[in-house]
C-alpha cells in the first residue's frame, strides 16, 4: 500500500516541492439505530481514497481522489501543485515554518478484542431493542431510542522526509435514551456507553439493561422535577459533565492555531494568548490537566498524527498554571518550540490536517475523596450529571452548560431533581473556583465523538477524563421560566 504514496512523494520532490506527504485511508463505518421495539436503520459505509499535500513555492496545495492508481497519483500531485501555485497569490509574509521531525517507521494498532463488524446484526439489534423494551416498561416513557456506531480506519502515511507509518484503529460509540411525556411537559434522559478506541468488547448487555431501567426512571422523575433556582451556588459535576467543560474551555482554548488566528472566521480565537504560557493562573492548585495521545483506548490515540508526528503526553495546566499548547508542525515555531506536540489530524482522506484537541484529562485528587464526601461539604448547591446544553463564546471565555440530570444538594446530601438548570461562568473564574476533585477510584474517561472545527467543518474524536469535582460559588441560571 505504501508504494503509490512513496511515488507521490517522489514526484513532488522531483518537481521541486519543499515538503510533501501522502495519506491513503480505508474507512469502514456502521451505524445502527433503534426506535422502540424496532431498528429504524442500519447504515454501512465503505470509503477509501488518498490525499496529497505539497509545500511548493512557499504555499500549500492539497488534492485528493478515491481512485488509488498510479496514473491518478500523478494527476493528483500535479493538481496539488497547481493549487499551491494558486495559493501563492496570497502568501504569508513570514512563510511556512515547518518544524523538523525525524523519519519514522511505525505500525500502530488499537486494542480490539471483539471486531464489531464480525458481530451479528442480531446481537447488536438485541442489545438496543432489549434496552428499549426495558425503558418502555416505564409508563411515562413514550419513546425509547438508541444507536450503536462502529468505525475502523486504516491509514497509510508517507512523507518526503522518509516516514512510513500505518495505523489501524477501531472505535465504538453507543447511546440510549428515554423520552417521558407528561400532561404538559416532556423530558429526555440518556446514557452514553463510554465511547473509546475499542471493539464490541466495550459493551455488556447486562450494563445496558441496568442503565435502561435507571434512565427511564429518571426521565419520569424529571417530569415532576421543580424548575432550577437561580443565583450563586456550589456545584458538583460528575465526570461526564465535566469532560465536556474540559473540552470546550480548556481543550479548544489551548489549540495554538486558534491563538494565532487561523480559525478566527469560524471556530474562533482564544483568550489564552502566548504571553500567558508558564504564568497564567488558569485554575486553582487542584487543577492539573494532562494531554495524552498515548492513552490506552483514547479516541485521539492513533500512533501518529497526520503530520507524521508520534503521539505524546504533556501537561497543559499544572497545579493551576498554564504550561503548554496543542500544536502541529506548522505552529510550533510560534512559541519557539522545536517540535510539534503531534495534534494535527484530518477527518478524512480528502481533508487537510488541522490542530485538534488531544485526549485531555483532569488528573484525580491525590487525597482519598469519594463523591459522597465531596457532596457532604456542600450546604446548598447543585449536582450536574451527564451532558446537555453547551455553548461557549469565540474566545472560549463565557460559557454555559447544562446537565442531562441535575439534583439539588441540601446540607451535604442530594435532594430532589431539578430541571432546566444551567451553570454559567468564565473559564478562568470557573477553574479557579475548583476546590476539590475525587480520587482515582472515581475517575472516568468519556469520549467526544463530534468535535466540529475547521472551515469546511471537520469532525474529530478525543477522550476526556475526570472524577467528580466541586466548584464554589458558580452562577446558576435556568433555561425555562419558573
Amino acid at each position: 500500500m505504501f508504494d503509490l504514496l512513496k511515488q507521490a512523494c517522489e514526484i513532488a520532490t522531483r518537481e521541486g516541492c519543499r515538503f510533501a506527504d501522502a495519506r491513503y485511508l480505508d474507512i469502514r463505518k456502521q451505524r445502527i439505530m433503534s426506535r422502540d421495539q424496532a431498528l429504524s436503520g442500519c447504515n454501512d459505509s465503505e470509503d477509501s481514497g488518498f490525499g496529497v499535500r505539497v509545500l511548493y513555492q512557499g504555499a500549500w496545495g492539497f488534492a485528493s481522489s478515491p481512485n488509488y492508481q498510479a496514473a491518478e497519483v500523478k494527476t493528483v500531485v500535479a493538481l496539488a501543485m497547481q493549487i499551491a501555485r494558486a495559493s501563492a497569490r496570497a502568501l504569508r509574509e513570514d512563510g511556512v515554518n515547518w518544524a523538523p521531525e525525524a523519519a519514522l517507521k511505525l505500525n500502530f494498532q488499537s486494542s480490539c478484542e471483539r471486531d464489531p463488524f464480525a458481530v451479528s446484526l442480531e446481537e447488536k439489534a438485541d442489545l438496543l431493542v432489549s434496552a428499549n423494551e426495558i425503558m418502555l416498561q416505564n409508563e411515562s416513557v413514550k419513546r425509547a431510542q438508541g444507536y450503536l456506531m462502529f468505525k475502523r480506519v486504516q491509514r497509510w502515511y508517507v512523507n518526503t522526509e522518509g516516514s512510513e507509518l500505518h495505523s489501524d484503529v477501531t472505535s465504538s460509540e453507543s447511546v440510549i435514551w428515554a423520552i417521558a411525556v407528561g400532561n404538559d411537559d416532556f423530558q429526555e434522559r440518556n446514557w452514553k456507553a463510554p465511547s473509546s478506541n475499542r471493539g464490541f468488547d466495550a459493551y455488556d448487555k447486562a450494563e445496558f439493561l441496568l442503565q435502561a431501567e435507571r434512565v427511564a426512571a429518571q426521565a419520569e422523575e424529571k417530569l415532576s422535577a421543580r424548575i432550577s433556582p437561580e443565583g450563586e451556588f456550589d456545584i458538583v459535576t460528575d465526570s461526564e459533565n465535566l469532560s465536556l467543560t474540559i473540552h470546550e474551555s480548556v481543550g479548544h482554548a489551548t489549540e495554538l492555531d486558534r491563538v494565532m488566528g487561523y480559525e478566527v472566521s469560524m471556530a474562533g480565537a482564544s483568550f489564552v494568548t502566548r504571553d500567558k504560557q508558564g504564568e497564567f493562573q488558569y485554575g486553582s492548585e487542584q487543577v492539573t490537566l494532562m494531554a495524552d495521545n498515548t492513552l490506552e483506548h483514547g479516541l485521539a490515540t492513533q500512533g501518529f498524527d497526520d503530520d507524521g508526528v508520534p503521539g505524546q503526553r504533556w501537561e497543559i495546566v499544572k497545579d493551576g498554571v498554564f504550561q503548554a499548547y496543542s500544536t502541529g508542525r506548522e505552529f510550533a515555531h510560534y512559541i519557539d518550540e522545536q517540535r510539534s506536540r503531534g495534534c494535527s489530524r484530518a477527518d478524512h482522506w480528502s481533508s487537510i490536517p488541522i490542530v485538534r484537541i488531544p485526549n485531555l484529562l483532569l488528573m484525580p485528587g491525590k487525597q482519598p475523596l469519594s463523591p459522597d464526601e465531596l457532596i457532604a461539604d456542600v450546604k446548598h448547591g447543585l449536582y450536574f450529571e451527564g451532558m446537555d446544553s453547551f455553548s461557549i463564546d469565540q474566545w472560549r471565555l463565557n460559557f454555559q452548560f447544562g446537565g442531562n440530570a441535575v439534583w439539588e444538594i441540601k446540607n451535604g446530601k442530594k435532594a430532589g431533581m431539578l430541571k432546566a438548570a444551567l451553570y454559567q461562568s468564565r473559564t478562568p473564574t470557573f477553574w479557579n473556583a475548583c476546590e476539590a476533585t475525587c480520587d482515582a477510584n472515581h475517575w472516568q474517561a468519556h469520549g467526544v465523538m463530534n468535535c466540529g472545527k475547521g472551515d469546511p467543518m471537520q469532525i474529530a474524536q478525543m477522550t476526556h477524563g475526570a472524577a467528580p469535582t466541586l466548584f464554589r460559588n458558580i452562577r446558576v441560571c435556568r433555561g425555562r421560566d419558573s
Binding site: 447504515n43 465503505e46 485528493s64 497547481q82 502568501l91 416532556f186 487561523y262 474566545w395 463565557n398 433555561g479
Partner: protein
C-alpha cells in the same frame, strides 16, 4: 456524472437486484475550498467525492450501504449482495414504507452556469483581491471561499427516478484587529468577484465601527437581528421543533400549542430566486412549496410518509431551504425606528436549553452595536442570550428585506426587530 451516466448506472443496479426492493442514490461533489487568514491563503483544496447509497428492503426489513468507488463493478455487485444479506438479519420495522416510485420533475433551479465555470485559479485570484483590500485597510482578514458543484440522482425499483445538478457558493469573511471585528458573507448558487469584494468591504466597515466596544449591561432589550442571526436561530429551531409526529405525540414545543407566533410566514420553496435548492429529497420525494407558519399560524409540520398515512395527512419531507417573509423595510429604516436597542450582526454557538419552550442560548459575535435615537452610536461587548424562539417570533415588531444566508443550510431571511430579547451575561 451526467444524467445519462447516472441513469445507466442506476438502471444496471436495479436490474441486478431481483431479491427485493431497492432505492439507489448517487451523489457527487466537486468542492473548491480556499481558506485564508491574516490576509494570506492558509489552506487550499480540491475535494472530489462520489457516493453510491443502496437501500434494500425485504418485507418490513431495511438496511443501507454506501460506497465511494463508482467505477468498480465488482464492488458494486458485492455491495448489492451485502445490503440484501444484511437486510435478512434485521428485525421487522412496521413503520417501513415502500419506495415512492415517483418520476420527479427536476427543473435545476439551483444550477448556475456561471458557477460551473469557476476554477482553482479564479478562486485564488478572488481571494488574493480580497486579501489586498484587507492589507490596504490594515485589517486582518480570515474566511473561506467555497464553490460546490454537485449532482444528485435517485432511482428505485418502483420506477422512480430523478437527476439534478446544483451549485452552492459560500464566501464569508471576518475582518479584525486587536480592537474589534466585523463579519459579512455572500451565499447562494452563484458568486462573482464583485460579490466577494462587496462582502469584504462590508466586513471591513463593520470592523471599523466595532473598535473598542463598551459594556452594555445585559438585560431584556429591543434588538435588530441581521439576516445571518435570524437564519442561524431559525435553522436550529426548525431542526429541533418542527416535526408533526413529535407535536402529535406530546414531544414538541408545538404539542398543545396553537397560539399565533407573530405575523410572519415561514415556508420552503426549491424554486426560491435567492436561494434555490434541489427539487427532491434523498428518499425520492418531490420537494414543493411548503408553508410551516402562515402569518404566524402553525401549519402542518415535517411529516414522514408513515405518519402521514397513519394520520391521513399529506407527507411533507424535510425541506432543503427555509424562507421567512419580511415586511420589505431596509435595515436602515429598522435602525431609524429604534430609540434604544442593540444591532446584532451574527450569532454563535446556538444550542437548545429547553425543547418544551424552544428555548435556546447563544452569543453575539463580530459586530454588536448600540442603537440610540435611531442611530448606531457605538459598539458593545458581545453578550450571551437565553430566550425562547416561540417568544422571539411573538415579539417581532418589524422586519426587513430577506436575503440569502445560512451557515449550514440554505436560508432566506430578513432582518428582524424584536422586543425584549433576553441578553443574560457578558462575553469577553
Amino acid at each position: 456524472m451526467n444524467r445519462q451516466q447516472c441513469e445507466d448506472l442506476i438502471a444496471g443496479i436495479l436490474q441486478t437486484s431481483r431479491a427485493g426492493e431497492l432505492q439507489v442514490t448517487l451523489n457527487g461533489v466537486d468542492r473548491l475550498g480556499t481558506r485564508f487568514n491574516d490576509c494570506a491563503i492558509s489552506q487550499n483544496a480540491l475535494k472530489l467525492q462520489h457516493t453510491l447509497t443502496l437501500s434494500a428492503r425485504l418485507g418490513q426489513k431495511k438496511t443501507s450501504l454506501s460506497i465511494n468507488r463508482l467505477d468498480d463493478k465488482d464492488l458494486i455487485k458485492r455491495s448489492i449482495e451485502q445490503v440484501f444479506a444484511n437486510c435478512a438479519h434485521m428485525p421487522d420495522d412496521k413503520e417501513l414504507m415502500p419506495a415512492p416510485g415517483n418520476l420527479i420533475e427536476t427543473p435545476e433551479h439551483a444550477f448556475s452556469a456561471s458557477a460551473e465555470q469557476i476554477d482553482i485559479d479564479t478562486v485564488g485570484s478572488w481571494v488574493a483581491a480580497a486579501c489586498r483590500a484587507g492589507g490596504s485597510a490594515n485589517i486582518d482578514l480570515a474566511g473561506l471561499l467555497s464553490i460546490q458543484k454537485m449532482f444528485t440522482a435517485y432511482g428505485d425499483s418502483a420506477g422512480g427516478f430523478a437527476y439534478e445538478r446544483s451549485h452552492n457558493c459560500d464566501y464569508h469573511v471576518t475582518a479584525s484587529d486587536s480592537h474589534g471585528s466585523g463579519w459579512a458573507e455572500h451565499k447562494g448558487v452563484s458568486l462573482r468577484e464583485r460579490d466577494v469584494l462587496r462582502a469584504t468591504r462590508r466586513a471591513i466597515e463593520k470592523c471599523s465601527k466595532a473598535q473598542n466596544p463598551v459594556v452594555f449591561q445585559p438585560r431584556p432589550t429591543t434588538v435588530i437581528l441581521e439576516p445571518q442571526a435570524v437564519g442561524d436561530l431559525l435553522s436550529i429551531a426548525f431542526w429541533y421543533g418542527f416535526d408533526q409526529r413529535a407535536a402529535d405525540e406530546g414531544r414538541s414545543a408545538f404539542s398543545n400549542h396553537d397560539e399565533a407566533l407573530g405575523n410572519l410566514s415561514l415556508y420552503s420553496d426549491p424554486a426560491n430566486d435567492l436561494f434555490p435548492t434541489l427539487s427532491f429529497s434523498s428518499d425520492g420525494q418531490q420537494l414543493g412549496k411548503s408553508i410551516w407558519l402562515d402569518h404566524g399560524h402553525r401549519q402542518q409540520l415535517v411529516t414522514s410518509r408513515y405518519w402521514a398515512e397513519r394520520q391521513a395527512l399529506e407527507a411533507k419531507p424535510s425541506p432543503a431551504n427555509l424562507i421567512l417573509s419580511g415586511d420589505g423595510n431596509n435595515l436602515q429604516k429598522l435602525i431609524e425606528s429604534t430609540d434604544d436597542g442593540i444591532l446584532v450582526t451574527r450569532f454563535w454557538y446556538i444550542r437548545p436549553t429547553d425543547p418544551k419552550t424552544l428555548g435556546f442560548t447563544g452569543m453575539t459575535r463580530d459586530g454588536t452595536y448600540r442603537i440610540e435615537n435611531g442611530i448606531v452610536t457605538h459598539p458593545v461587548v458581545d453578550m450571551r442570550w437565553n430566550d425562547s424562539v416561540l417568544r422571539i417570533l411573538k415579539n417581532v415588531i418589524a422586519s426587513g428585506i430577506a436575503v440569502a444566508t445560512g451557515e449550514f443550510s440554505a436560508m432566506v431571511m430578513p432582518p428582524l426587530k424584536v422586543a425584549a430579547f433576553n441578553f443574560s451575561s457578558l462575553s469577553s
